[in-house]
């Protein structure tokens, strides 16, 4: 218990140290990418829970991310002024779900409040995940991979082909999201440091939640499912139920990540729903060692940050492809784990003993 607390505390200290470092070296512009990285990491830890602990692959998590982001973006930008008279809209207005504001040209805008939009988006994603999760999680291996991949592609095609969602351009002009009075998630220059802490704070909260879940009864049941599903079933673990719950939970993490990042960027485009994004998230989880939230977060921090900074240039996707292959070929249990050190030690020992024999 205390070691977990210490780890999280150490992580929080590192986050603060990074911010102070950028302040001292006058490179606060890095914070933008670091904030985005935190939101992507939120999705990654959810996926890590699903792949690493429940042992179910998903190649469609970018789809959940996009559903969350798109619904939130659509509701907070779609002008309802013309539909003011409709009973449903009037009802929403009565409950305070709507807010009026002025657009760029001074025209009246009547849109959903970000909180209302956020809740609608999260609920939609949870329902979608629950509905498709039932039949999808009955599948195994290739079939599971293909079914989730298919789901991802369907979402991608829908957002790309629907003109109401901006088609290839996506939705832009998404307003900031005022979480609490004075705390607004938006990309504006003034709130950069605040946003950095909000993003990482949310991520740490999410991690704490998952780490607690893992070391609970549920977590042990999940690792039993991962180890041997039939055996777990025989021990009285409701495997299907647990798998579905983790699937819905990880979809929820993806949705929250999508919503917050959309408000932070002020826009969302169809590329967020692309298959390549989903594969990228799986890659990060794989490199982090599948069954390690810490591994996933640290790899997500490094890879997403460099990718967002554009360090990989036009080879961005290729870099992820190469990493994916190398890891799966040579270290299928991931890089971040103690076994790697042991392997390396024995490797060097073998070399040195060979040299000694010569």
């Amino acid at each position: 218990m205390s070691s977990k607390f210490l780890q999280i505390f150490g992580f929080a200290v590192a986050i603060i140290a990074i911010q102070i470092f950028t302040q001292i070296t006058d490179s606060a512009f890095h914070l933008t990418q670091l904030t985005m990285t935190a939101y992507y990491s939120l999705l990654v830890i959810g996926l890590c829970m699903l792949i690493g602990y429940a042992g179910q692959i998903s190649l469609g998590h970018a789809g959940f991310f996009a559903i969350g982001g798109y619904i939130s973006a659509f509701l907070t930008t779609h002008n309802l002024t013309a539909m003011k008279g409709k009973p449903f809209i009037a009802l929403c207005s009565k409950f305070g779900l709507l807010v009026g504001r002025k657009d760029l040209y001074g025209g009246d805008l009547l849109v959903f409040h970000p909180w209302a939009a956020c809740i609608i988006a999260v609920c939609t994603v949870l329902i979608v995940a629950y509905v498709i999760g039932g039949p999808v999680l009955k599948l195994k291996g290739h079939y599971l991979a293909m079914a989730t991949l298919g789901f991802g592609i369907i979402i991608y095609r829908i957002v790309l082909g629907t003109s109401g969602l901006g088609a290839a351009d996506g939705i832009s002009g998404v307003p900031g999201f005022t979480l609490l009075p004075g705390v607004t998630i938006s990309g504006s220059g003034s709130g950069k440091i605040l946003n950095y802490y909000v993003a990482w704070g949310i991520l740490i909260t999410g991690m704490t939640l998952l780490l607690n879940l893992i070391s609970s009864r549920v977590g042990r049941a999940l690792s039993a499912i991962h180890g041997a599903e039939d055996a777990a079933e025989a021990m009285g673990i409701p495997t299907a139920n647990y798998k579905l719950k983790v699937f819905v939970l990880s979809a929820g993490f993806a949705a929250v990540a999508g919503i917050l990042l959309t408000h932070y960027n002020g826009s969302i485009g169809p590329s967020e729903a692309s298959v390549m994004k989903s594969v990228r998230y799986v890659a990060i989880v794989a490199i982090g060692g599948m069954t390690s939230i810490w591994g996933a977060v640290s790899m997500s921090l490094i890879l997403n940050y460099f990718s967002l900074r554009g360090s990989f240039g036009t080879y961005d996707d290729a870099v992820f492809g190469v990493i994916l292959i190398l890891i799966m070929l040579f270290a299928p249990d991931g890089l971040i784990r103690a076994q790697v050190l042991v392997d390396l030690k024995s490797f060097f020992k073998r070399i040195t003993s060979k040299e000694a024999a010569l």
């Binding site: 692959i57 190649l59 039949p135 999808v136 009955k138 599948l139 195994k140 291996g141 290739h142 079939y143 991979a145 293909m146 079914a147 991949l149 298919g150 789901f151 592609i153 369907i154 095609r157 829908i158 790309l160 082909g161 629907t162 298959v275 390549m276 594969v279 799986v282 890659a283 794989a286 036009t314 080879y315 996707d317 290729a318 992820f320 492809g321 190469v322 994916l324 292959i325 799966m328 070929l329 299928p332």
Partner: protein, 294 residues
């Protein structure tokens, strides 16, 4: 009525390419139990290589060379990435082949750029057409359907009447037993990769004049090919051809009811429904399916 037939012809054209990809899937699946997510990339490579080679040699020779090059490439992939893995888990194989497909696609992007390429029509040009009772059919459609049919027949002969084909089937039926009989199962896996790479590449060359090929055509074809393979029952190539025609025609008619942008949504939704309802495929055997794990 003529419009209806026209849609069917369009559907059959697309169905042909789906069938080719699905057969490629099935060949590798049968010998290894792996779904090769990079199967679509073979099709793309075939089309692109032939397009580059045709600058230097006549078209038939360029296509032949492209098929051989892709075949060697398929063998290399198997030897470098898959051959030496000891009993890899399904999850590992899925991720490796996905990684390969990304890598091939990105390499193609850097070699050929983002542009769309198309081989010239084998006979005639893009505007020539044959009038069959009021339906206009491009001669390339005949080429596509003809060559694919011949390919399916040749594959049937190969698997049923040649020693190598029989060895590959033995390998898929029972790997251990095949090894005991002195069949090098590892070589059979390499052969299956070569064969499906060659089939994919030939498919890419045939449809290139009609559908065009670009660096990222592969992944879309892969998912359609998989849909068809599932629809027919994984591993069953004859059923895959029938399923491909069904999917091609359904897709072609979906344009009537839905915007063309949703064409892929239709076929993938069909795949999901099949996976949920009858994972053994339309023509699959329910009793045999019960013994398999999905």
């Amino acid at each position: 009525m003529e419009l209806l037939l026209q849609y069917i012809v369009a559907g059959v054209t697309y169905g042909t390419i789906y069938a080719i990809v699905a057969i490629g899937f099935n060949i590798i699946y049968n010998t290894t139990g792996i779904i090769n997510f990079a199967q679509g990339e073979f099709v793309m490579l075939g089309g692109m290589t032939a397009f580059t080679l045709k600058e230097y040699m006549p078209l038939p020779l360029a296509i032949l060379s492209a098929v051989v090059i892709t075949m060697i490439f398929g063998a290399l992939i198997e030897i470098v990435f898959i051959r030496w893995l000891h009993k890899p888990s399904v999850l590992r194989m899925i991720i490796i082949t996905i990684g390969l497909s990304i890598l091939i696609r990105e390499t193609a992007l850097h070699i050929w750029g983002e542009g769309v390429t198309a081989l010239p029509y084998f006979t005639g040009t893009s505007v020539t057409s044959v009038n069959l009772g009021g339906v206009f059919i491009s001669p390339q459609v005949f080429w596509a359907v003809g060559i694919s049919s011949i390919m399916v027949i040749l594959l049937g002969i190969f698997f049923n009447f040649t020693l190598l084909g029989k060895q590959m089937r033995a390998c898929s039926a029972n790997r251990e037993a095949a090894r005991l009989c002195g069949i090098s199962t590892q070589n059979m896996v390499t052969f299956s990769f070569m064969l499906s790479a060659a089939i994919g590449a030939l498919g890419g060359c045939i449809v290139s004049p009609i559908t065009y090929v670009q660096y990222d055509s592969g992944s879309q074809l892969a998912i359609k090919g998989f849909t068809v393979a599932i629809l027919g029952g994984l591993g069953n190539s004859t059923a895959a051809v029938a399923a491909a025609m069904i999917l091609g025609i359904l897709e072609s008619f979906s344009i009537w009811a839905l915007p063309a942008a949703y064409k892929d949504v239709v076929s993938i939704a069909i795949m999901l429904i099949i996976l949920f309802v009858k994972p053994s495929g339309l023509f699959g055997n329910a009793a045999a399916a019960r013994l398999k794990e999905y």
